[in-house]
């Protein structure tokens, strides 16, 4: 199993604030990896470094062994890294299917001259583009809604459309920034199922930021925990759940002893009852 994306001691500094501090993350191919951490831990900043929006001050980011840090965003996207946003950012005044067609942009070649002359390449690509977009719409469950303006779609549909747009470029790595934010339990369940499908059916490596711990523990093959820009833990969900540093980061330093006492008391009560 080869490595999909690897960050080597990546640091991003804003003025005096080190938002990401020498973080190493290794994500093997075809797994679902999560990045978690309290608010302001530097999760989204790390995402922005990987997708090329920021250039990290130190360190290296390698995508299938190729260094990508400092490359412009569009070049990174063309290589096969797609992303979604914490607050949905669709092209609202375009139709749903057009959003997906924009997502396919790097995969086609027809230039403006082709468009003006309506060359064979232009026509073939246009046809292929519409066909594939329709298929993607169906895949994310938006069949028949393709000609609606993106901003008129319901919230859940917009989330899925954003993922469809990201998938349109046939990415090898998909970055999802809080894919279940603002969803009810049922929608969250569907989304979890959907993300797992992406990995299983399309073979895409997925790196996601998520606050809903049930989702994270449920679908992740690997979890990285950030706190104040530093990596404090990495591993399987089980090991993260019992990791003392992680619990402290989330609940405060004294909480471990409290938790132990609480568990002890619960056990005692349970013992008494039975």
């Amino acid at each position: 199993m080869s490595t999909c994306i690897e960050t080597k001691e990546v640091s991003k500094i804003f003025g005096g604030l080190t938002a990401v501090n020498a973080v190493d993350v290794v994500v093997p191919e075809n797994i679902i990896a999560s990045i978690i951490g309290p608010n302001g831990a530097g999760k989204t900043t790390l995402f922005n470094c990987i997708s090329g929006y920021y250039t990290p001050e130190h360190g290296q980011i390698e995508f299938y062994g190729m260094p990508i840090q400092g490359q412009p965003t569009y070049a990174v996207a063309t290589m096969g890294i797609a992303r979604t946003y914490q607050n949905i950012r669709l092209f609202g005044d375009m139709t749903a299917i057009e959003n997906i067609m924009v997502g396919q942009y790097p995969r086609f070649k027809a230039s403006w001259v082709d468009a003006v002359l309506s060359t064979r390449r232009e026509r073939d690509e246009e046809k292929q583009s519409i066909q594939e977009s329709s298929r993607l719409l169906k895949f994310v469950g938006l069949e028949g809604l393709g000609d609606n303006l993106a901003r008129n779609l319901p919230y859940g549909a917009q989330r899925r459309l954003e993922i469809a747009r990201a998938l349109a470029n046939k990415p090898r790595l998909l970055l999802l920034d809080e894919p279940t934010a603002g969803m009810n339990p049922q929608e969250t369940g569907n989304m979890t199922h959907f993300i797992r499908n992406l990995r299983d059916e399309l073979g895409i490596t997925i790196l996601l930021i998520e606050h809903d711990m049930r989702v994270v523990m449920d679908i992740s093959d690997q979890i990285t925990v950030l706190d104040y820009g530093t990596k404090i833990a990495e591993g399987k969900p089980k090991s993260i759940q019992s990791n003392q540093k992680v619990i402290e980061a989330y609940l405060g330093p004294d909480v471990t002893s409290l938790t132990k006492k609480y568990q002890l008391r619960k056990k005692q009560r349970y013992d008494v009852k039975s």
Binding site: S51, G52, Y53, P72, T73, Y74, A77, T78, A82, R83, Y85, R89, F91, G92, D93, M94, T95, A96, I97, E98, M101, V102, G103, Y105, P106, F108, A110, S111, W112, D114, A115, V116, S118, E122, E125, E126, S129, I130, Q131, S133, S134, L137, G144, G146, D147, L149, R165, A166, A168, N169
Partner: protein
């Protein structure tokens, strides 16, 4: 306590009263009467009292009708409609009567109001008072507006609530729609032969018309055509790619001057062939767009607008400056610019130029139409909507914007070449900032991003003022009012852009789907 009907009537009346007073103060009452005369087909230099009365009655009727019109809070009754109408008419009448009386007294005391208000001539005051004494005149004015307000309110109430009118209206619209929707009509519309037939008819019309309607119309519509080209051009960068370029006239100037310097006997005596010079003019404008774009296209929004504004002014001032006189003929401008030739024969009559402009408009429209929903066009629109995300989906936004600006500039260059060649003259003053503003206005009013909208905008903003010569001095005022009204009522323009349907036709064309 006043009833809400009276209240609404009074409020509308005040608005219309202020409108009438303003029209009076800027001398529009005379122009309005002239316009009525023109519409009724009696062109006369001095508008008669009859036309003035018709004009005022129309204004009063408008006040009454709009006061009594929906939206209603309470039930629409005769009483309510008439109350609002009469109060609206009376209130606007009161305003006009007071202003008329005051000015009437002024001139009867031999004070010339023109000292302070240049548009208020004694003749216009006399007409405003129907050639009567101030008191009688203002009473006539008052009663005329009141009665017309009342009548219009009654009429609009009748049209709103009369069943037979309503049902006949509905029937008419239904029958029209059923004809339009019916299979036969859609078959005819979609029929290949009908389509080619109508295209052919349109082409023949375009060939014949310029020969028929004479020099004046060729001039007016030629100007409209040039502005359509400019509108389609600025639409590429501003309408689609969403980059506000205010100094668009700069590229127009580059096209016009390149062409002029290459073909005119002075100052360089190059005397180049029209068609080669046309190509070079377009090319030069396109390259200037590329060169300007390189340093500035990383700016966003307002900054880009300001920089291009500065660029346009620099070009104009450079053309005018002593420094450049040896190369660009300075403020005098360039004379005797060549007209087109075909196989060595001159092709530069009014009619020929009209043909040339029509062909240019068709070519640019074709180009714009092909680009609009192409891969490139979608990338532009994506940049317009969210540049950051567009970049993250793999679009090289800088290159895309650069392409849009260059194409846009090249189209402006084409318009500049046609403009210079048609006038056989071009000077720095042809390239003032106002050209850019006009072009932007026509795109915004017509419908930004939409090709038919731009045609409409050009006809309304360039064609109408030429035809309605009387309104010449109010052009800027009308522009302003039109823009404000548009922004309030239809912020996307008369004909807003629509996105194409792509999924449905694709699904329908799948084999086996057809039942």
């Amino acid at each position: 306590m006043r009833s809400s009907a009276v209240d609404k009537g009074l409020r509308t009346g005040v608005v219309f009263g202020i409108i009438i007073v303003t029209m009076f103060l800027i001398g529009f009452t005379v122009t309005g009467a002239e316009l009525v005369g023109k519409i009724l087909g009696t062109p006369s230099s001095s508008p008669s009292l009859l036309f003035f009365s018709i004009f005022m009655i129309l204004v009063g009727a408008w006040a009454g009708a709009s006061a009594s019109a929906r939206p209603l809070v309470e039930v629409d009754t005769w009483k309510r409609a008439l109350t609002t109408g009469v109060w609206a008419g009376a209130m606007s009448g009161l305003f006009s009567a007071v202003i008329g009386f005051l000015f009437g007294e002024l001139i009867s005391n031999k004070i010339d109001p023109r000292t302070y208000l240049p548009s208020v001539s004694p003749e216009s005051i006399k007409m405003f008072l129907f050639n009567q004494t101030p008191l009688t005149g203002s009473l006539i004015l008052f009663s005329m507006l009141t009665v017309s307000g009342l009548a219009a309110a009654a009429l609009s109430f009748f049209v709103r609530n009369n069943d037979s009118v309503k049902s006949s209206k509905r029937k008419a619209s239904e029958s029209v729609w059923s004809v339009i929707r019916s299979q036969r009509v859609s078959n005819v519309v979609q029929n290949k032969y009908t389509r080619y037939g109508s295209l052919l008819a349109f082409a023949i019309l375009l060939i014949i018309l310029p020969r028929v309607w004479g020099g004046y119309w060729n001039y007016v519509l030629g100007t409209v055509g040039i502005y359509i080209i400019l509108g389609l051009g600025i639409n590429i960068i501003t309408g689609w790619a969403g980059q506000l370029v205010i100094g668009y006239v700069a590229f127009f100037a580059v096209g016009a001057y390149t062409f002029a310097l290459l073909t005119a006997p002075e100052p360089h005596h190059l005397m180049m062939n029209f068609w080669i010079a046309l190509g070079l003019g377009v090319l030069a404008a396109g390259i200037s767009g590329l060169l300007i774009g390189l340093p500035i296209l990383n700016l966003r929004g307002d900054y880009l607008a300001i920089v291009t504004l500065g660029f346009a002014e620099i070009i104009r001032i450079l053309l005018k400056s002593d420094l450049m006189t040896a190369y660009t003929a300075g403020p005098r401008g360039i004379r005797d610019i060549a007209g087109p030739t075909i196989f060595g024969k001159p092709f530069n009559s009014d009619v020929d130029f009209m043909y040339l402009i029509i062909i240019a408009v068709l070519v640019v429209t074709f180009l714009a139409n092909r680009l609009q929903n192409s891969r490139t066009g979608k990338a532009w629109y994506a940049i317009n909507l969210d540049e950051t995300v567009a970049r993250a989906t793999g679009i090289n936004t800088f290159a895309s914007k650069l392409l849009a600006l260059s194409l846009s500039a090249a189209v402006a260059g084409l318009a500049g070449v046609l403009f210079a060649s048609r006038n056989q003259f071009t000077g720095p003053d042809d390239h003032a900032l106002m050209v850019s503003i006009n072009v932007l206005c026509l795109v915004i009013v017509g419908g930004i991003g939409n090709i038919p909208g731009i045609f409409l905008g050009a006809f309304v903003l360039k064609g109408l003022p030429e035809v309605l010569r009387e309104t010449e001095s109010y052009r800027l005022l009308i522009f302003g009012v039109l823009l404000i009204v548009m922004m309030r009522l239809r912020p996307e323009g008369f004909l807003p852009a629509k996105r194409p349907e792509l999924e449905k036709p694709a699904v329908q064309n799948l084999p086996g789907k057809e039942g």
